[in-house]
């Protein structure tokens, strides 16, 4: 293995690599202190808190980009005693997490102002969660994976229950905690087995150890892999393990749902790809596992979403469906396939956060998350309706939006890597046709129908909070332009995955039957 064990002292190089994380931690602590000091909790102060946290997030993102600009064609090497791995993939993923965090912070301010007095803690928790995510996406050691995952999860449980007064939020967080707790337990049991087999917690050592079991299909080996990826599937809200998602998304405050659907999912995907590519490359049952999960999540996600009346639950099922689409990339496992997943995550981040931002805005205007209450919104807020329609159409994969390009590149990669999976692409496309039905249904309600009484009650034109407004404009711009000017982003994503994966032979499995 190229990298030798790093020398036992944390060098200047290590500090540089985790500079963004450091900035974020400092920001987190600063916010906590500031909230304690400002006991009057006035509107002005809370806005100040949001601006401070935004500054820290952007600072951390700037540090990341500055670092990446220093040596673009970097040689991947492990940091922090082999716990983290500094490669293009980690940079790309961490950049996405920070972007997601930034937008979440921006859109959450307006929501929190109307629903609770204490706001500071929210930003601290969100920054903490993203910190966990960033560690997770750069992890190169089981312990680092566990720590990152747990920081992310536990902060998410608290975030889900942020509005303690309301029972729905408390119930959502408790359910999330119990489900997450069990997931982590199973994940750990799997990890312990991995540790047992390989004797080390470092990815590269584990990889070499497990290479011995390349072809052999031993039941315990299979169980171990399933347990590890079941917990990750829980975090990615993939079909059989997605049951928590709708309830938590509906119960939790909307910015938290947005956060969960994007940042925690991206982090989970990062670690899944890393584990998949580094530790279990030649694993025989790969294609079948992901095919089953992909088909299940697409079908369940889209079909159940048809019947949803609450927009947050609908978006929850839509995230399940999108996870399904992304899994098709994993099925073929080629660098092109997984690279297109990373690109898909980029577009998914902006369109989903944008959609949630609109849901927040509608929530503020109409006070309810029920789709019926959106009727006739175009009369009052045409600009907002246009933005929401763009996001929904992008989620459905309609042209010139980034969603269309992302789906096209993904399915192109799948078929190019292994044409035997054309049927899977057809299933995915049929599912996205079904998905258009419920996306366009929302647009229909907003644009075609006569205004509902909730919409009539909206005053002619109140000023949109600047943070929410700017976040919306960024997301709309990203959704429209990310597709058309995709070539640079595509290069980054495919390149980052190429570094991860030694070009292993594409396992051409003869369909599902052995």
């Amino acid at each position: 293995m190229p990298e030798t064990m790093a020398m036992n002292v944390i060098g200047q190089k290590d500090m540089l690599f985790i500079l963004p994380e450091i900035i974020l931690t400092v920001g987190l602590l600063a916010i906590l202190c500031l909230t304690m000091m400002t006991h009057k909790k006035t509107r002005h102060e809370n806005a100040g808190l949001m601006q401070v946290s935004l500054v820290f997030v952007l600072g951390s993102l700037a540090a990341l980009i500055w670092q990446f600009a220093q040596q673009p064609s970097m040689e991947p090497e492990t940091m922090m005693f082999g716990a983290l791995r500094a490669d293009l993939f980690s940079y790309v993923m961490r950049a996405m997490l920070l972007a997601g965090l930034g937008i979440t912070v921006a859109i959450s301010h307006a929501f929190l102002e109307r629903n609770t007095k204490i706001i500071g803690d929210f930003y601290a928790l969100v920054m903490g969660a993203t910190l966990g995510g960033m560690v997770l996406s750069a992890a190169n050691d089981l312990a680092a994976v566990f720590i990152g995952l747990e920081t992310l999860s536990i902060t998410s449980y608290v975030l889900a229950g942020y509005l303690r007064r309301t029972t729905r939020s408390a119930e959502a967080s408790f359910k999330y905690l119990v489900y997450g707790g069990m997931g982590t337990a199973i994940f750990l049991f799997g990890l312990s087995l991995v540790y047992g087999l390989s004797g080390s917690t470092n990815f590269s050592d584990i990889a070499t150890a497990l290479a011995a079991y390349q072809g052999v299909m031993h039941p315990t080996l299979l169980l171990m892999v399933i347990m590890v990826f079941a917990a990750l599937a829980f975090k990615l809200s993939i079909a059989p393990f997605h049951m928590w998602a709708p309830d938590v998304y509906e119960g939790a405050p909307t910015p938290v749902s947005a956060f969960l659907s994007v940042v925690s999912k991206t982090a989970a995907f990062a670690v899944t790809i890393r584990l998949l590519m580094v530790i279990f490359p030649g694993f025989p049952a790969w294609a079948e596992l992901w095919t089953i999960l992909a088909v299940l999540s697409m079908t369940i996600g889209n079909f159940v979403a048809l019947k949803q009346r609450n927009v947050k639950r609908l978006l929850a099922y839509s995230t399940v469906a999108h996870a399904g689409y992304m899994l098709t990339g994993l099925v073929v496992g080629s660098s092109a396939g997984v690279g297109s997943i990373v690109y898909y995550l980029m577009t998914y981040l902006f369109m989903n956060l944008g959609a949630f931002a609109c849901v927040i805005y509608f929530g503020i205007l109409t006070g309810s998350d029920d789709i019926e209450s959106y009727r006739g919104m175009v009369q009052k807020r045409p600009g907002l309706v246009l933005a929401f329609s763009i996001f929904l159409l992008s989620l459905a994969g309609i042209p010139i939006t980034a969603g269309f390009f992302a789906k096209f590149f993904l399915f192109q990669a799948v078929i190019m890597s292994n044409p035997a999976y054309t049927w899977l692409v057809i299933v995915a496309l049929l599912n996205s046709t079904v998905s258009l039905a419920y996306y366009i249904n929302i647009i229909r309600l907003m644009v075609v129908k006569e205004p509902s009484d909730a919409v009539n009650a909206i005053p002619a034109h109140t000023s949109t909070p600047w943070a929410l407004g700017s976040a919306l404009t960024i997301s709309v711009a990203a959704t429209l332009l990310l597709g058309v000017f995709a070539s640079q982003f595509l290069n980054y994503s495919t390149e980052s995955v190429k570094q991860l994966v030694q070009e292993r032979p594409v396992v051409v499995s003869q369909g599902l039957k052995r």
Partner: protein, 634 residues
């Protein structure tokens, strides 16, 4: 000067087209006053007649066919030409069409003088003239098919002129539809001919595709390629066109209903020109028909049967125009019979003479109706000779001409047809019987309208000069035309100019001549006894004596009812069945798939019962199931 006239002969149909455009644009832009436009049309037709006569003038002694073609539509290997082709038959048709339509248009000015749609009527007349003249001039079967349908649509427009009357609208639709059925047969016939004779046409200059001048070569290649049976089927398919156009037996019911249209067009279209187009097509396609004997036999029999059936129905008709319509159908039957028997010039000669005296008869009936204030039922007329002498006399001349009494036109042409039927005993008997019936029902109409006492309301009056003058002019050819072209006493024979292959002139068969005159007089006598002054035989008693036969004839052999039954039960039910199928089955399947997607969505949604522990159970089961499935699969 001579070749200018010859080269510009294609202008003949263009004059009426220009007149049509003048009226349509004039009326639309308001430049043309409402009740005007007729002078343009009459001028256009007159120009056509003069041009034809000039053309005839310096056509030279040899009367060789003149032809000129251009490419109308070119796609891949197929080049569809359009152009003009005039030979003896074509010139005869030109003369008939231009002269008859000119006189009728003059007559129409009187008849339609105070009808609000006056200029619209003349526009339609101009359109019809354009189509008919182009049909006559067309140089190939494809072009003839084009103007075949154009003539069909002009008759649709003219029959349905008073479209506010539901019966007129229904008649127009029925006429056009039946013509479309005929056109369908013609189209398939053309395609089959082209299919079998494709190699022949490839050899020629592409602009000659389907041209009549090359038709005999094509016919022989097609016969060789297709074999006799297929060739006969093709010939009959082509014959389906004339069958609908000239109202032959199966596709004839539209002609009597076409009387819903104004009388001038009954005269022009449903007596002289359009219905004759069918026979003209048979003439043009003679090379195809002659080389398949059973096709000729079928055509002959259809002609004979049509003549016979039409004559029988005409016996019981009370509406003057319907009677004349059935007589037209009968005479057309005669012409088709002649063509079927190979008597090419006889059939066309009868076409020419029939055009003149039948147009005259219809115009007389028009002036009678005009005189009796729109009364068409002969039972409410009678004794009109006193009130309308000119109409009366011309009607008598027409009646004598059509029955084929010696000096008049009808005799010569009909006699030749009967003579040519001499070899076939059965056909000969039908021809003679029809001749008798013709004489009877024609004189019956004459006596019922012009003799006895006036039974109608109000008091009839003679039609104005503008209507009676054309009648007088038309009377002239009805009398002398037959004799002039009979070939006797050194006079030119019709068959010299209009014939197929070698112009043979067989000497008149005196016996047949005598017999046909005898039969005509017999018919006249019976009619005179029943309807004339004598009133010896009471028609009602005879009707009751042959009750079943009378009801059969009264109901026009139940053709209408049969077609009505077919339309309502078979066609409409097919339509409603397919509409039902479309709505329920295809839409049903679509609805089903959407329904199952929704239902399964609902079912999976119910799985989400809100209790964390049930989620975790599913989590655990999923892990176990995945392990088992993958173990079994890999």
């Amino acid at each position: 000067m001579s070749n200018a006239v010859q080269d510009l002969v294609w202008l003949i149909p263009v004059y009426p087209l220009i007149a049509f455009l003048i009226i349509v644009l004039g009326r639309w832009t308001g430049l043309l006053k409402p009740m005007s436009g007729s002078p343009f049309v009459i001028l256009a037709t007159a120009l056509g007649l003069i041009h034809t006569l000039l053309f005839l003038g310096n056509w030279g002694p040899a009367y060789t066919a003149v032809e000129q073609n251009w490419t109308w539509l070119q796609a891949g290997a197929l080049q569809l030409p359009i152009g003009y082709f005039i030979d003896g038959t074509g010139m005869m048709m030109l003369l008939v069409v231009t002269s008859v339509s000119l006189l009728i248009q003059i007559y129409t000015h009187g008849y339609m003088g105070h009808d609000p749609g006056y200029s619209r009527f003349y526009a339609y007349l101009a359109l019809f003239n354009f189509s008919m003249l182009s049909l006559v001039l067309s140089s190939n079967l494809f072009q003839m098919y084009i103007f075949w349908e154009m003539v069909g649509v002009s008759s649709y427009l003219l029959i349905g002129f008073w479209f506010t009357r539901p019966s007129a609208a229904a008649a127009a639709t029925k006429a056009f539809l039946m013509n479309r059925v005929g056109d369908f047969g013609l189209l398939i016939g053309i395609l089959t001919l082209l299919y079998f004779s494709w190699t022949y046409w490839q050899g020629l200059d592409p602009q000659q595709l389907l041209s009549f001048s090359q038709m005999d070569g094509a016919a022989r290649t097609a016969l060789a390629a297709a074999g006799p049976v297929a060739f006969t089927v093709m010939a009959i398919l082509i014959f389906m066109g004339p069958m609908a156009k000239s109202a032959q037996l199966p596709l004839h019911t539209w002609l009597p209903d076409a009387m819903e249209g104004p009388t001038p067009i009954s005269a022009l279209i449903h007596a002289a020109t359009m219905v004759a187009a069918g026979v003209f097509l048979i003439a043009r396609m003679y090379p195809v028909f002659t080389i398949s004997p059973n096709a000729m036999m079928i055509i002959a029999w259809i002609g004979a049967l049509t003549a016979f059936v039409a004559a029988t129905i005409a016996l019981t008709q009370v509406d003057i125009k319907k009677a004349l319509a059935y007589s037209t159908m009968s005479q057309l039957g005669y012409m088709v019979l002649a063509m079927g028997l190979g008597a090419y010039s006889a059939g066309l000669f009868h076409l020419m003479t029939h055009a003149y005296f039948k147009a005259m008869l219809f115009l007389c009936s028009g002036s009678v109706i005009h005189g009796c204030h729109e009364e068409q039922d002969m039972r409410k007329m009678g004794g009109l000779m006193k009130y309308m002498p000119i109409t009366g006399i011309t009607y008598l001349i027409g009646t004598i001409a059509i029955t084929g009494v010696l000096p008049f036109a009808g005799f010569w042409s009909k006699d030749e047809i009967i003579a040519s039927a001499a070899e076939q005993p059965l056909l000969f008997m039908i021809a003679i019987a029809t001749a008798a019936m013709t004489a009877f029902y024609m004189f019956r109409t004459y006596f019922m309208t012009f003799h006895g006492t006036y039974r109608g309301h109000g008091h009839p009056h003679e039609s104005p000069k503008v209507m009676t003058m054309p009648l007088a002019i038309l009377a002239v050819p009805s009398v002398i035309l037959g004799f002039a072209l009979s070939g006797f006493f050194g006079l030119p024979a019709f068959s010299q100019y209009v014939s197929f292959g070698h112009a043979h002139h067989h000497d008149p068969n005196l016996g047949v001549m005598g017999l046909s005159i005898l039969v005509a007089l017999g018919g006249f006598l019976v009619a005179w006894l029943m309807y004339g002054q004598a009133k010896v035989i009471d028609p009602a008693r005879i009707a009751s004596a042959f009750k079943p036969v009378h009801t059969l004839l009264w109901n026009k052999w139940y053709f209408d009812q049969a077609y009505g039954f077919f339309a309502r039960n078979i066609y409409l039910s097919f339509a409603s069945l397919s509409a039902w199928f479309d709505r329920t089955v295809i839409d049903g399947i679509v609805g089903l798939t959407a329904g199952t997607v929704n239902a399964s969505g609902g079912a999976m949604r119910a799985l989400q019962n809100g209790r964390v522990q049930s989620y975790l159970v599913i989590f655990f089961i999923a892990v176990v199931l995945l392990t088992v499935v993958l173990m079994w699969m890999v």
